[in-house]
Every structure is written in C-alpha cells, then in structure tokens.
Symmetry: C2
C-alpha cells in the first residue's frame, strides 16, 4: 500500500494547488488544466482499489447478532441470570484475555484451540477459553476461599470447603431449573465421577500415564461406537486389547442409583479406594437429588468422561432428548446444552503455596440454546419485537416538527419509551405504517386543532380507536395502556 | 519445562511399579525401596516448581470486577440500557475480534493501540478497538441503510438518511438523560463540527495533508496550554507560526448559539463552504436542543476536535464540572465521560461500491463512570448488596438437612430467591450471622415442633420478630414481605 499512500499524498497536494488557483482567481484554462491532473491522479487510485480484494466478513468461528437474535438472547440470558440470582449467586467479571501462562496446562487436548495475542506490552496474552480457569485465577489472586458466583450469564460456580455433595446437588438442580424454564423439551443429565473412571482404569490395568488420554477416548462414546473407541485405545493409544475389553464391560453401563449400589458390590471396583469414594458420593448425591425432586432427570452414565483436564470428582452433562420443534420436523441433535463438574485442584495450581480451594460448577451452552430457540421461533413463525417503544409521536399536518420534538421530549423525561420519525414533515400514513412494522402499540397524534384545545389524539394501533387525552394526562394514560414489563427479567 | 515433563513421566512409571508390587503382594522392603525412589523423583519436581516464577495478575490495562464492583456496574448499565430503550433502540452484538483489515485505517493516531492476534486459522485478526467500526462493518455486510441500535450498554448510533440534525439532537438528549440519571454531578457537553475545523484550517492556510494531524494537536487544548499546542504545530508538525496564530484566534473561543451567529458573520470563515455548512447545521441543532430543554448544557467549543479519523460532521464530548464526592474532598478530574459525533463516510469504506450510510452516535465512558460511582459509594460508606437472596432456609436443631433441602427446593420452584448453608448441622447463630453479613432480610427456620404443626418460623432479620407461618402460605408471605425489585432495571 506504500505506492497508494504516495499517490494519495500527490492527490492532496494537487488538490491544494487547484484550491489555491481558485482563491487567486486564476484563469479558467489554468484551473481546468490542474483539475485534469487531479482527476488523473485520483483515477490512479481508483475509487474501489483495495476494497475489491477486501472480504467483508467476521472472523472464522464468530458471528454477529441481529436485533432479532439479540432479543432471543436477552430472553435466554434473563432466564439464566434469574435462576442464578434465585440461588444467591454474586456476579464477577474478568478480562477477555489472560496471561498465556494462566491458561497453559489446564485444558488437556483442547489447548490447541486457544487464541494467542501478538506480543505487545511485553506480555504473552491469550483469549480466555472458558470462564472456569479465569475464575480459579481470580480466587487465587484475591485469596478467596469461599464464594458462590456467576460469570456472564453462563457460568455458575460454588467455591469452598463444605459438607459433601450439597453444592454439587444444587448445581444439578440449577441445570434442571434453567433447562425446564427455557422449555427446550425433554432433557437428561448424565452424571459420573472422575474418581470412578480413574478407579476402573486402574483395576482394568490402564497405566496412570494413560488415564487422561483414555478418558478422552471414552468421552467419545456418545458419538461413536464402542468398536471405534476400542480401536483408538488399542491402535492409537497402545492399550492391550484385553484391557480395553475390561474397560468396555464397565463404561457401557448406565442407570440410576441402583447401578451405584451394584458397583459398590463389584468385587474389583469396590477394592479401589478412589472408585469407592466416588461411588459413595454419588449415592449421597442421589439422595439429595431425590429431595430436590429431580432424580428422575439424572442418569449415572459410566461413559461420561468430559474432555477437560481439571475435573477431579463428580462430572455431568445435560442432553436434550428431543426438540420442541413441531411434530414431523427433523430433530436438531444439538448434543450437550449444559455441563460441569467438580475441580478441586485448579485454584491450587495458581496459589504460590499450592493451597487448594474445592470448587464445583456448571456452564450453560448458551450458543447452542440460542440457535434452538431461534429455530423454534421460526418454526412457529413467531413475531419477535426488537424494541420496547410504547408510543410514536406523530403529526397530522405539516410544520409540526417543533411540537413533535417538544412532546417526545416531555415523554422521554417522564420515562415513556417514545419515538418520532426523523423527518420535518412525515405523512401520517407513513407514521402509522412504521408503528405496524415496529409493533408500537400507541400513536400520539398532534394536530393544530388539538394544540388549540390542549389535547393529544391517542390512537391504538391494534383497533385503530382514537381518543382525545388532555396533555397533562397523557403520560398516565400511556402507562395505563402499556403494562408490558419494562425490564427483561 | 521439557525436563520437568520427563521427570513427571518417570514419577508416573515409578508410581505404576509401586502399585504393581503392592498388587503382587511383594515384600515390604522391596516396596519401601521403590517408594523411596518415587519420593526422590517427586522431590526433583518440587511441589511449587514453575509456580514461583509465575506472576499472578491480569494483563496490563485490564482488571477484574468483584461482586461489589459488578453490583455498581449492573446499576450503571441498567440506567444506560433503560435510556437507550426509551429512545427506541434495537440491540446488536458483534465478535470481540475482527479481521485486522477491518480495523486498519479507521483510527488515525490511535491505531497503534490495537491488539493483534497471532495468525492461526490463516486469518489476521485484531481485538476490536471501539464499537463504531464493527457497527459500520455490520451495516455494510448486511446492506442495512437504516437502523437505530445500541451495542453492549455503551454505544448508541442512528444510521440512515434523515432530515438534518434531528438524530444528532437526540444523541445529545440521550447523553444528558444518562448523565443526569446517573447523578454524577454537574456536566457540560462541548460541541463542534469537523467541517468548521477543516474550514478554519483552510482559511488559516493549513495544507489539506496536515488537517488531521493539526486536528489532533488542537484536541489537546483541554489538557495543555495554547503555547504548548502552538509549539507542537510549528515545531513538530512544521506549520508556519502565523498560520498557527490565526488558528489560535479561532480555536480559543467557546460559547453558545450566539458564537455560531457571530462566526456566520465572520468575513473569512463565512466564505468557506464547509465551515458555512457546519455553522448552519449547528444553528439548527441549537434550535432542537432548546426544544429538548438541554441547550443550557451545551457549549459550542472550537477547541473540541476529537482524536478519531472517521468523524465528518458534528462532534461532541461530555465533561463533568465537579464530582459528587463530599465537600472538602479532592475533585476526581476524570475528563470526558461520554462522546461521539457524525461519521458519514465510514460505512462507505466497507461497501464494495462505496455506498455511503450517514451515521451519528455516542459512546458512554462506562469505565470512568464506574470508578466515579464506586468512589462516591465508598465516600458515603454505602453498603452495596451483591446478592438478591430473599430468605435463608435455616434449622434450629440438628438432623434437619433433608427438611432444609426439601423446603429450599420448594421455594426455588416457587421463584423465591433462597439459600441454605452447605453444612449438615449448622448452628442457628451462624445461620443468622450469615444473613446479617449478606443482607438477607428473612430467615425461614425449621424446627421439630414446627414440622409437627405444619408451620415454618419466619424471622425478620432487621427487627428479629418471629411469626409462625403455615407452610402452604410461606411463599406468599415471603413475596409480600420482600417487595424489592427482582430485576436490575
């Protein structure tokens, strides 16, 4: 672009020359001559040069949200935040990027998905990959040992040393409340425990060093067949076939608390300390889930492993069993819409003295949920209002812009959501059409006669009824007629 | 860290060996011997190795938000969003990073402040620097010619071809409404027009090529003296001293609409087409601002220039005249808390055919506003609640965890914001203290006798009054007693 910059500079200088000549009242020919040179130079630039090869798009893996999509997102966020607040959570926020080393060694095989920033201030930075690691960094940095918080309307965590399984049970309760109130259709929450997996890997003869990688193979069982998973374990990850088969006997099982009881009797598994702890906790967890009235939504699934490295105990993942789309339509198959678990070691990784803070939390798959709700709204052809405007300030005749500005200003100052068309003399029909399109329920129409009488004509867009309202009563009348909530929660 | 990884692998293998020996019921000595080796290896790692040199911090120029700070932020955002909705704005959102070329050549001297990402997916990406350029990219990409939108509770813009100054006046009205309702103290909005600046640069004899850079020198007049600005113009930017002096005669002036009138009579300035347009529009703008009842808040200030390149017309900047801190306290001197202007060329820079979409907007300096409000709250020693919990479910005796879990679950399902301590047998005193600290107004106390009688003891934390409420009436009673708003707007 250096050449281009040079040409641009020439264009500027030539522009000055032309301007100077004009100011000096130079001869027409002379001016024309210089103008011609100027146009030649500009032609070299070409109006669209540079634009032609510029691709207008958002970065890979990102998207914009239109007003309609944001309206959906606001509703979804409102449900989630409302639930988090119902459970007494505080809210924190952390920067969108972190020191690279803060994120290093926390995500296992997901690490390659992290975006790094170019070195500028002498710090190596990366975009945050989830909200759990920044939260753990926040706890260690502020020496917090005890907090219940949420983080941008999708992450909820309980940190602190408590009696076993009570916070864990609340996390599952929260997932149920959110998924139910979002009316996404029937759902199931798979539950497992990393200690049970590690225990059964041990008794099946998996070397410690392979636990995490075998874990991520097992985690694929919700997408691919056992044969494929076994091939990966044996072929890629060098596990003995008989070891893989032993794993298979366990991880293909799922059920309720009865399966927990059964495995507690399992001669081999019950001999493994870790597995025993995990099974004991799951048994207690199911008691609490029954008291919360959600045990029927929970399935103990030994194939659930979760990708991330930092989990240390109970893990869970919510899946939709069907979509709320109309009968006959294709199911969406969106997989997991919420997940989480216990990570008792993560905060200790940040603490200089390695002090641990036990944590359990959950994350809502908001992006997936948005697209489900969007698709459903489209399926139902539901109209979504993207503004909350209560009244349009309109005029019946010309020359009333000043009056419209005065009235709309009065309404804004009284807390009424009001608009006017940015035209000096808009046609009444256009103003009414705008209300139809934007779903604005009321029109406040100013006319010369009404001004004389000190009244405003208030028109209901739905039934086209018009009544004269005394100007001093207008605000109250509008408030009375528009009882729709003024907040998103 | 490669060595460390190797040692870690050795530790794993040695761990396996020890485990194997134990399973094989090997001799005690033999096991001890291998355990000793294991411990030696582990010692090599050192529990805190790597952590010692790891600095626990957020990236330069970023910060975390604590629950208390978030509570303040939520209140501020609520005021701003409420105002944007009152003016009929839709909301959009765009990714936190953009293609690098999307941001290139839009910010002038600010460009060096942009964060670039490391090349990963073959795309050169940068973190967004403001919300205006992504908005213009969004308009061009979606071929939108007409929208009124806000963007994460701080940016408001009106795009479209309208009658002059009506949207511009609304932007200034919005700034006044927000700054008034945030009660930040007295404020003033400086207004100017890029066309007036360019015009006076032209008549003072500044070469076109120097307009933008002289512009940013002028913009420093709110911080440094005219002498320093002149030195920069002459010394660094090579302007003739007499040219600088001519500029000085103009840019040191400020006033109301009368100054606009006066300059319209200025023999030189009134001969410049651009300046004349700018002054004409400002005259009209002041008429509308008077109708909006905010003309007294506006000052036409010829020294206001704004840093960013993309402004083409009216520009404005709000400054606090004093802080709301107590008498005797130091003023905060936070400078501009809101700013904006007209940028009619930016969308065209993205459109392949260069089609223009006129835009005018404003941006609220939320970070500065947060710190002002925070400081004020601390000055007033105001207690900020960081949760909205209405009731704590407590028990008077031991062995009532199950009952507490059942009751809190009932309350959650009824939409009540409720908590319980995550302890099997918490002391009543501790439960009451928790309410005092967290500002929870009510306690629902379960006791054996109450269970028999089918009632719950409802205690008001403030006045310590206790009444027995029949369990089926509890939800209604709690709702009646806690009338605080359940939403942040």
């Amino acid at each position: 672009m250096a050449d281009r910059a040079a040409v641009e500079e020439l264009v500027r200088l030539q522009g000055e020359r032309v301007r100077a000549l004009k100011q000096q009242k130079a001869s027409a020919e002379q001016i024309e001559e210089e103008v011609a040179k100027l146009l030649k130079l500009k032609a070299q630039l070409g109006p669209d040069e540079g634009k032609l090869k510029f691709v207008l798009k958002t970065p890979k893996g990102t998207r914009d949200y239109s007003p309609r999509q944001m309206a959906v997102r606001e509703k979804v966020f409102a449900v989630i935040i409302n639930c988090f607040k119902r459970h007494g959570a505080e809210v924190i926020d952390t920067p969108v990027f972190e020191l690279k080393e803060t994120l290093t060694g926390k995500y296992g095989e997901d690490s390659k998905l992290i975006y790094d920033l170019k070195d500028q201030g002498g710090e190596l930075l990366s975009l945050r990959y989830d909200l759990t690691v920044p939260f753990a960094r926040y706890l260690a940095m502020n020496k917090l040992t005890n907090i219940k918080r949420y983080h941008i309307a999708k992450d909820f965590d309980i940190a602190g040393q408590f009696d076993p399984m009570i916070p864990d049970a609340e996390c599952l309760k929260i997932m149920c409340e959110i998924l139910s109130s979002l009316q996404l259709g029937d759902f199931l929450i798979k539950v497992n425990d990393r200690r049970i997996l590690d225990g059964l890997f041990a008794i099946c003869g998996v070397p410690d060093s392979k636990f995490r990688t075998i874990c991520s193979s097992v985690d694929k069982l919700d997408k691919v067949s056992w044969e494929e998973v076994k091939n990966e374990m044996v072929g890629e990850k060098g596990l003995a076939p008989e070891v893989a088969d032993r794993i298979g006997e366990y991880v293909l099982q799922h059920g309720g608390v009865s399966l927990v009881e059964q495995l507690l009797q399992d001669p081999k598994l019950s001999q493994n300390k870790q597995a025993l702890e995990g099974l004991g906790d799951l048994k207690l967890l199911f008691e609490y889930l029954t008291l919360f009235g959600i045990a029927n939504k929970i399935s103990f699934d030994l194939s659930l492993a979760r990708g991330l490295d930092y989990y240390t105990g109970v893990i869970y993942e919510a899946v939709l069993l069907q979509t709320p789309a109309r009968a006959g339509e294709e199911p969406l198959g969106v997989g997991s819409v919420a997940a989480g678990g216990r990570y008792d070691g993560l905060v200790g990784m940040f603490d200089p003295k390695g002090r641990k803070v036990p944590c359990v939390g959950l994350s809502i798959g908001v992006e997936r949920i948005f697209s489900i709700v969007e698709q459903r709204l489209e399926a139902l052809e539901e109209k979504v209002r993207t503004t909350e405007t209560q009244v349009l300030v309109a005029s019946a005749q010309k020359k009333l812009l000043e009056e419209r500005l005065k009235l709309v200003s009065e309404l804004w100052d009284a807390g009424i959501k009001a608009e006017l068309l940015y035209k000096k003399n808009p046609k009444l029909l256009n103003q009414l059409q705008y209300c139809e399109e934007a779903g604005i329920p009321l029109v406040a129409i100013i006319g010369e006669q009404e001004l004389k009488d000190g009244v405003i004509k208030l028109r209901s867009v739905a039934n086209r009824e018009e009544v004269d309202v005394r100007r001093e009563d207008l605000v109250e009348e509008i408030k009375k007629r528009t009882s729709q909530p003024h907040c998103i929660c």
